[in-house]
Subunit: 517 residues, 2 copies
Amino acid sequence: MSAEVPTQHPCHAYRSLMERHRNVGRLAAIAEIISRDFLTAMPEGAYMNRLDQISYLHKRIHNDIVCCDAQRELEEAQDHVEAHGGLWDEWDRANLQGMVDIFRSHSIQTPETMEESARIANEGRRLHREVLKKGDWSAGVPHLKRVVDFTRKMAEKKAKWRGSATLYEALVQDYSPGLDLKTIWKWFNQLDRELLQMLPLVMERQSQRSKIVEMTGSFDPKAQMWLNRALIEMLGFDFDRGSLHETSHSPVEGGTPDDTRLVIKTADSSNFLDSLKSALHEGGHGLYTQGLPAKGEWAYQPVAQDLGTMMHESQALFVEMILGRTPEFFRFLAPRLEGLFHTIRDPALTAENLYRIKTNVRPTLNRRQADEVTYFFHIFLRFQIECDLIEGKIEVEDIPAYWTEWMHNKLGIMPQNHAEGVLQDVHWFVGKFGYFQSYTLGHMVAAQIFERMRTDIPQIFGKIERGDFRQVQYWLHKNIYSKGSLMPAEALLKDVTGYKASPDFLISHLENRYLSD
Amino acid sequence: MSAEVPTQHPCHAYRSLMERHRNVGRLAAIAEIISRDFLTAMPEGAYMNRLDQISYLHKRIHNDIVCCDAQRELEEAQDHVEAHGGLWDEWDRANLQGMVDIFRSHSIQTPETMEESARIANEGRRLHREVLKKGDWSAGVPHLKRVVDFTRKMAEKKAKWRGSATLYEALVQDYSPGLDLKTIWKWFNQLDRELLQMLPLVMERQSQRSKIVEMTGSFDPKAQMWLNRALIEMLGFDFDRGSLHETSHSPVEGGTPDDTRLVIKTADSSNFLDSLKSALHEGGHGLYTQGLPAKGEWAYQPVAQDLGTMMHESQALFVEMILGRTPEFFRFLAPRLEGLFHTIRDPALTAENLYRIKTNVRPTLNRRQADEVTYFFHIFLRFQIECDLIEGKIEVEDIPAYWTEWMHNKLGIMPQNHAEGVLQDVHWFVGKFGYFQSYTLGHMVAAQIFERMRTDIPQIFGKIERGDFRQVQYWLHKNIYSKGSLMPAEALLKDVTGYKASPDFLISHLENRYLSD
């Protein structure tokens, strides 16, 4: 009846570990479902008890992972690898390594910190919705202070265990395993330098063109959601194993390969591009999740998990920013929009105008509305704030002034209220310190992947214009999705593209798109 | 942060048991959420893994309940009651008794049977939807045989443990604790005798009236759902702690006091009365669930649970059949329907005609479409089949012939296909053998409660006609909902109405409504 793990691996301890991870994976999948439900179907009055339920489940998962049998089994399995290496293929080895990593990262935590962490994440998501609506920064401060305190304490344990150079590096490595902060600083400094030079050139160039036609129509939210679903389905998203929901919360991807729930903000009838952008972004995440190995013995195993947030964001940003902002994509889209929104010959909805709207480069206050050239600066700001905050150089109360001054110095603009500034992202509220860098690293990886893909797939732009994404999907599936965690992200990238990760690919992508057409 | 149990009870073992039940309750609440999600939001492709997840969770719950610490703590707590009786109030005593019952009923099962039972329930629900759609009885037989085998085995264990007179009695007692089969047979035989006499009298009486006007309009499903929600909200359902969904599956109530999810069949535009009926029925369940004690120390505790299916169905049938079929209810409803469905002066939608549609008595093939007088016979048929099936006097293959012959002999009608007959209910497919009797017992209890309520609430019919259900709700809350499992169902009924359970109240309710107006 049940999808039993069919492995016949000769190491008994490893078989038992696989069984353990299968069961942990089931509980983790359940946690995903109820967390998604929290954002979509849950009645508001269930909030407090749901928090309890989710955090209690995480505590149980933690206890299952760190129980003493697991430690003994891990030792036995590692001995088995040494003694009978020939019986362990690369998947089993990577899987065992994943088990060791998961065990260690949990061992330094207590069940109570796991519970508190889950609680912060879910409380914070709701609190953020409320304070963002009101623009009320001060109502968020006590929660953020609690999160920062908690995060610093966690970071101390993690830094000690990982031998990280700084507390913040320990957090970054949660999301981007194997990367050091020095390398990220080097890349970010290069991007800062080169993009600051590029920005005025692009803006100057774009200013010489005829004016962009602003959208003035009204766009039926239901029709928007049809479009969002249709596009991500064309991109390969399997609605038999996933869904796209609207929420009043911040967008979120998530789930498991067979129940991948994408959640985007409720569509706004004055602008279909925002909800489309969000659907493409979460859709990219969803494609990765659905493509992970999930059949037979690898279901729920560590080796079947994704490669962390750099790779996850690379898949989201590849779809949203790279593929979804090609002129060809808009040439495919434009005629269909006329039918969908009943707007024949709206000059705002031509392929050319839509392309220009989505590639219009100018400093903006909002990260999610940023263009591809200035997007990095939004990340760089948050990265620096996090760095100083976690190391104790600044406190939560200092963030708004820091933010405003930085934006002014870097981009010459300033938020007029907290909703435009420090309150715009949910990440800190849910305890995701160290995450933001993943967006820029992901953008870099997406550009690097795209360069390789263009060589591998003949006439890729023609295919995009025809809405034929099959080869793109095949390529991503074969090279990225199906590999799970067989090798670290950086090794996979080198393997697939022939090069180590570097900002050069992103810079040359931006030059191509923004300075050479 | 967390909603800690604030009890200061002096018995340490009991405090520990409360903590254990709080945690078991959290996992059970999670199981409710993902089972509800299974019926509403889950993508079809997640089916197999979801089955695994739900059944695995039930296995964990079982293990938490029967672990050896629990046994020791129960013994200690029972010793404490004997030694320091004065420290135990009636709630704590009932709670401890509930803990003992839960422990014992789980102790006779293995984790694997708990897992299998959850799997049967969820597989069966989906299979039933498929075979009902096609009317394909034979496609359901293998599953049903498996369920019957499994149920007989479970029944053997239960009968031994409970000292039940027969295997079937042991199953019935799962749903109606404390009742014996002999009593149910006695009640059912009385109902059979008296209702068979009443039926031709009622039909004769109704045949002398002018013809009922059939509904021919089209009723917007969205408007129907608004009505359904509005009515159960008026009845006291709190949408801040619950919701009403549509599903392609069979209707189901469920959830917890703070997340009560009612699921009814997708509304049909040719008939709003079916979906209304379903909403009132599930709404009655939901009101009971939401009204159970759930605050502070009693959250998730055994004493805070409902009194089993007889009482649960009594609450559903009270709203659906007793209150929801009064002439006054239709006088409240009728003018609002005109506005809602844009149908001024439709002769089918007058209060009088609607009342006559819903109180029209005649033999029907479908249980859920049965009138109040013949409803019992549908239950009696299933009850007898279950009895013979579990005792091995008939097998699954014999059911259709049994069914057809019984219906013909009793009501003079015969199903023309399996969808009209043996396939109409989901219960057997999900392993609910012993449940059906709860409907008739519930109907009896609902009538008995109503008789008392009419004495307690002055001008109750005038209040119903004005759509003022506040005192009805207050009465039910005070006398039923808020009592949780403080005393057994029969004792509560006697306490509230002054009489032991008896079919007399149902018979006199039916005589009043169908033979005296």
